[in-house]
Amino acid sequence: MKQLLNIKNLHAEVAGKEILKGLNLTVNAGEVHAIMGPNGAGKSTLASVLSGKEGYEVTEGSADFDGKNILELEADERAKEGLFLAFQYPVEIPGVSNINFLRTALNEIREYRKQEQISAKDFMTMVREKSKLVELKDNLASRSVNEGFSGGEKKRNEIFQMAMLEPKLAILDETDSGLDIDALRIVAAGVNKLKNKDNAIIVITHYQRLLDYIVPDFVHVLADGKIVKTGDKNLALELEEKGYDWIFADQKA
């Protein structure tokens, strides 16, 4: 099995405060991992550190992505290597159409991989095909990136972008937050269609509900900057029922 992500003893801080305190995680191709945990445990920090957001300092440990030390790369280079982050709060970019945005992204990625630029015709065919995955409306092309989108549309747009960019590893940061049940199903179905034996998905969530639709191979509990427990999908059900306290009690025992 091909190893995609290998995080060892990762320590990271924000504004001098240590958030990740020795995190270990290995993700292989073809796997879906869910990361759950109480508020402030470091879930979103992990997503930010891996994707290269400024303001996060790694003080110890390593993170290899597809054999490369990604901590040395710029944020855009990490994306070009095939790392995708579905944002918890997708950002609006007024005046920049979705199509222009995605075509720029796709062509930069292709250039990085020494592939030819995509033709306008092929690109539009791809847009039509992939937007069906998440049932996005046709007027998407002319609209600015996320501007005036409803919460559900923004999250669907994230998955649409994931479909267009075909990453090796996608991190979904609370993609289920703010979604009604229909939108949740659409988003989950889209993710499931994109899942294959060569890529991997990390789902960060507070709720077991999403994992009914995107079924994880592993569920990890992240607490106080470390993964303190790992199990299969049943662990998520147990957490839903019992909360997190019993895990901390187990730890102390």
């Binding site: 994707s51 400024e54 944002f87 997708p90 970019i93 007024p94 005046g95 945005f101 600015s144």
Partner: protein, 82 residues
């Protein structure tokens, strides 16, 4: 980006109240990071965001000014963050 300006207001109405103001602001770091996370380099991201922001205004300019303004915007926007 280095920027120099001279403020100048001419007024022929003695009851008018005028002020001048110039502000510069950082382009949203969140917007740049969002672009970068999709594989767009920082410089390209800044150009995309600035052009998008200015598009509404540029579209209303007479053609010759619009062309000129586009050209000015296309000049490297590197280091314009901060």
């Amino acid at each position: 980006m280095r920027c120099a300006y001279i403020s100048y207001i001419e007024c022929n109405n003695n009851s008018a109240k005028l002020e001048h103001e110039a502000t510069t602001s950082k382009i949203g770091e969140d917007q740049i990071f969002y672009c970068q996370q999709r594989g767009i380099s920082e410089e390209k991201a800044i150009s995309l965001i600035v052009n998008g922001y200015c598009k509404d205004v540029l579209n209303k300019l007479p053609m010759e000014f619009a062309v000129e303004a586009q050209k000015l915007l296309a000049i490297s926007l590197e280091n314009s963050v901060g």
